[in-house]
Symmetry: C2
Subunit: 273 residues, 2 copies
């Protein structure tokens, strides 16, 4: 493995997650930056793995990542959790003098209350937090809503910290490879990610959850996604505690596979929150 593909440019939350991953695993990989989550995931091959956001505490799942896991051969080999801390920052002006605020679309969603209270006339949506920081650096009378680490990178003065609507916001990232040999080490807590296409029949989802509950397997996450064919038809991204090599997990999956499609996305050590 030589490369780690990441949503760029340098300084994004994904880039922070990538740095944490490299530091924790002591892997020597060169980072490759891409302009979208989908592009960074499509770069995965025999020499490249990718870090991508999968779920935010406030916004919920990240669509492009789930779509990629559904449509491509991919194995989740690790996960990371990063706190989200946004600030209002400016190079030029004091809080009371701001006339314009640059903010990325998702960041805007996460800081809605603050922005409404701020009552600035002009809010300009950008494509990335880094672009917001760049624009605010170059534009007098303006400020940007950006992650606090980006304010440092761009030399902007932090006018107000932790301005996201929910102070303890976090994002969960996954590390994706194109293949992996499942590895089971003792004294490690594992999680297993699954994509389950539920049979269109009353009670199907109940039966799937029973296959886990009956075997005392905890579900740590369930995200419903439309199948894109018909409103009201869903498949489910489900994370459970346990490893695909554990006997109880294998039994549950065999029972579910009798009536539903199961895509095994990978087993990996559980991240601490």
């Amino acid at each position: 493995m030589r490369y780690l593909s990441v949503l760029g440019p340098a300084g994004t939350f994904t880039d922070m997650a990538a740095d944490l991953y490299l530091q924790r695993t002591q892997k020597q990989l060169s980072k490759l930056y891409f302009s979208s989550i989908t592009k960074s995931l499509l770069a995965v091959n025999n020499e490249t793995i990718s870090v991508a956001p999968v779920e935010n505490l406030i916004d919920g799942f990240i669509g492009p990542t789930l779509d990629f896991l559904e449509l491509h051969k991919a194995v989740v080999i690790d996960e990371l959790i990063i706190p989200v801390n946004h600030c209002l920052a400016s190079k030029h002006v004091a809080l009371s003098k701001i006339k314009k605020v640059y903010v990325q679309f998702s960041t805007h969603q996460q800081c809605k209350n603050f922005l409404e209270d701020l009552a600035v006339l002009l809010i300009i949506n950008t494509e990335s937090n880094i672009i917001s920081a760049e624009k605010a650096s170059a534009d007098p009378d303006s400020a940007a809503i950006i992650p606090i680490h980006a304010a440092e990178t761009f030399g902007l003065k932090v006018l107000k910290e932790s301005i996201q609507d929910f102070p303890n916001n976090k994002t969960r990232f996954i590390v994706v490879a194109n293949k992996a040999v499942p590895e089971l080490q003792p004294a490690v807590f594992y999680k297993t990610s699954l994509l389950i296409g539920v049979q269109d029949k009353p009670g199907s989802l109940r039966d799937i959850l029973s296959a886990f509950a009956d075997r005392k397997i905890n579900m740590t996450s369930i995200m419903s996604r439309p199948t894109k064919g018909k409103l009201g038809q869903y498949h489910f991204f489900i994370d459970i505690e346990g490893h695909q090599l554990h006997e109880s997990v294998q039994q549950a999956l065999n029972s579910i596979k009798k009536h539903n499609s199961v895509k095994l996305l990978g087993s990996y050590p559980e991240a601490l929150q």
Copy 2:
């Protein structure tokens, strides 16, 4: 009832849904336009009801609407389904001469493949489809990706139709009031919307689904949303077939309420797809 609050400006998909609702119900209500979904829903009072998008076939649920239903006293009194058909439109140039494309963030997500194939240098994200149409009207060498009905409204020439990644995309809208007396008419198919806060215990969601499945109550929609407190904790927006005044529905809800919180969001006639 005197007013119908809507995400504006005139010409949005929500505005189309509002017109369909007024036409179908023969109600005489004045439309009030708001700059965000949340603001239009907050306008609901004794004199005002609101139409808001709740779920898109491709993107999944619409966060601000679900958040509103969770946090405020609100009753869902009707639903509507509107097809989504985006086009590339321009006032000035032929397809081969376009240098710039204006596109709203969600529209961008829905037309990703087309935009990547188009390979235009400059893609400018806007806050609404109507702003995209206005900008493209005023800017030479540019085009906009907008709903086909907006191209007509703004006198833009449609260069390419149905450019969304999934051709049969649809959005489901709900009509929200601040109160309603549940009404049960014969020969009408009803749906009931619920918000269920699931007890944090293995098997809880399974037991909830069993309460419906055991009584042959079909679930037409399930959307998990983070509770914003802890990653991996969810509540569920669940739609079932049947009316809250039906005995089987009442039995199921009573059984679920023993261990979980239930917010009854309303019963209303099921929309045709």
